[in-house]
């Protein structure tokens, strides 16, 4: 029997009278990588925020680790989250070390350095966060999450604005960490190449659920046209076949 970590059941979210997502259902198995895709305004980030318990549900239910999302309590320690790159307050006079200490006060200096080393930014410990590039900052946030030892990691378009090479390196790191730390990964992306390379399951949505399943099965040409409104063909990457 599959080990379901996250169970989203017929969820709808309304904000200011507008229904942003409607009747979304998905189940995420432990150790899998689920990509949420859809056009701008499809409600991807809203779904992620609902799953994290940051917005109230109009209807439906969400359980994480078998517990309703609103009653997670201490289980939130097992949740990791990497927000969109542009949402941090970069004007805050804060070094990487101070940022990590604020989020994970119990982390030792050795484990902090090890976490930064794992994502390749160990030389940045005393750098101000405002001086880091977008890719470096996101890797610091990944290190921050690693220090908390999460079981499930949510990422909201984490590589937006990062160059193509940096983006590829970033997702390679996520994939390696998923394997090494037995993480479950749920990521929002608009990039189909990310989905085909890294996701074991894909959820397509445009306010409503359009498809859910392994990318090779769920993402046919018709579905991509439905999601993005144009013809696109997918080619599986040889080195990253699921």
């Amino acid at each position: 029997m599959a080990d379901i970590v996250l169970d989203v059941n017929s969820v709808s979210v309304e904000i200011g009278g507008a229904r942003l997502i409607e009747d979304i259902t998905l189940q995420v198995e432990r150790g899998s990588t689920v990509a949420i895709i859809g056009p701008n305004g499809a409600g991807k980030t809203t779904l992620l925020r609902a799953v994290l318990g940051l917005v109230p549900l109009a209807s439906g239910s969400i359980t994480l680790f078998g517990v309703p999302i609103t009653q997670l309590g201490d289980l939130r320690k097992r949740v990791g989250y990497v927000p969109q790159r542009l949402e941090y307050d970069r004007y805050l006079p804060l070094t990487v070390k101070e940022m990590l200490r604020a989020y994970v006060p119990q982390a030792s200096s050795a484990s902090t350095e090890a976490a930064l080393q794992e994502v390749g930014v160990h030389r940045m410990l005393h750098h101000p966060i405002g001086k880091l590039s977008g890719g470096q900052l996101q890797r610091v946030v990944i290190a921050l999450n690693l220090l908390r030892k999460p079981e499930i990691l949510f990422l909201d378009e984490p590589a937006t604005g990062v160059d193509i090479e940096g983006e590829s390196r970033f997702y390679d790191i996520i994939e390696r960490l998923r394997e090494q730390h037995h993480l479950t990964v749920v990521l929002v992306s608009h990039d189909l190449s990310v989905v085909t390379r890294y996701a074991s399951q894909v959820l397509c949505m445009n306010r409503r659920l359009l498809c859910f399943g392994p990318p090779a099965e769920a993402l046919d040409t018709e579905m991509i046209r439905l999601v993005y409104g144009q013809d696109t063909t997918l080619y599986a990457h040889r080195e990253h076949q699921p």
């Binding site: 200011g16 925020r49 994290l52 318990g53 940051l54 997670l72 201490d74 939130r76 320690k77 949740v79 990791g80 989250y81 990497v82 927000p83 949402e87 941090y88 307050d89 004007y91 805050l92 006079p93 804060l94 070094t95 101070e98 940022m99 200490r101 604020a102 989020y103 006060p105 101000p128 966060i129 405002g130 001086k131 946030v141 908390r148 949510f154």
Partner: protein, 266 residues
């Protein structure tokens, strides 16, 4: 210069100004980084209405002013949660309401001027030992409270939703900090006045921001700048025979200008 230290009124003023000069900027670093200066201004102006109410209800001035500041803080938080109006607009609405209602009530209560002028401009040289003890308690209390909330405040400042997703109650942190800020602003009014209290929150923190890229460094520098400005300002006000609160703030402003000139690159 040292002979002035023999006078009890100056000893009291020196203790109070050093403690306030140290603790207000410590709160101020979060006011500056969280962009809450307008809120401090609104709370300071709520003292007009608090004072008028105390005269109207014949209640002690300071407790009434603090109670009213708490009420305004809760009203601002409640309005922000209930509406989608931008924060600065909500604060501006309450600032206008407090200032307007206060001036209106004080106008009706003609002849009530003493308390108003003390709250407008403060008088640190007129403090009694009871006032100094109050300053000691509030400064030690506020420093301990800020240190206890330090990591949570930073988490909410870096990325509010990331902090919430990881288990920090951002609403609780916000409310606790705003209440602390409101209490400190209100208690400081009698000492440095409505006009100057926000300046002492902001100037040392803003000057420190110019000189460091680390938060701990900013906090330490802000406290040092605040403390030094208070001592220099107090002595200068005695020397020139001018209002102490104003000279303290001008000294802090000079330090801010120097920090702009000596700002580290980038």
């Amino acid at each position: 210069m040292m002979e002035i230290l023999q006078y009890p009124f100056f000893q009291r003023a020196l203790i109070a100004s050093v403690l306030l000069g140290f603790s207000l900027p410590l709160i101020g670093v979060f006011v500056v980084t969280r962009r809450l200066s307008f809120f401090s201004e609104a709370i300071a102006h709520s003292a007009f209405t608090g004072l008028a109410l105390s005269a109207l209800l014949m209640t002690p001035a300071m407790p009434t002013v603090i109670a009213f500041a708490m009420l305004v803080t809760l009203a601002i938080v409640f309005t922000l949660h209930r509406t989608e109006i931008p924060t600065d607009t909500v604060i501006g609405v309450y600032l206008a309401l407090c200032a307007g209602a206060g001036i209106l009530l004080l106008g009706v209560l003609q002849g009530y001027q003493t308390g108003l002028f003390q709250f407008l401009f403060g008088d640190i040289l007129a403090l009694a030992w009871d006032d100094v003890w109050l300053v000691v308690v509030m400064c030690v209390g506020s420093v301990l409270a800020v240190l206890a909330m330090w990591n949570a405040l930073l988490r909410v400042s870096v990325h509010r939703e990331m902090a919430m997703a990881m288990g920090t109650s951002a609403a609780r942190v916000d409310l606790l900090f705003l209440v602390l800020l409101a209490v400190m602003v209100t208690l400081s009014l009698k000492l440095i006045g409505i006009v100057l209290v926000t300046a002492m929150l902001l100037l040392p923190a803003a000057a420190a921001r110019n000189l460091t890229h680390s938060f701990r460094g900013m906090a330490l520098l802000a406290c040092v700048i605040g403390g030094v400005s208070s001592v220099l300002g107090l002595y200068a006000s005695y020397w020139f025979g001018t209002a102490s609160g104003a000279v303290i703030v001008v000294t802090a402003a000079v330090m801010f200008v120097l920090s702009v000139l000596f700002r580290r690159g980038g």
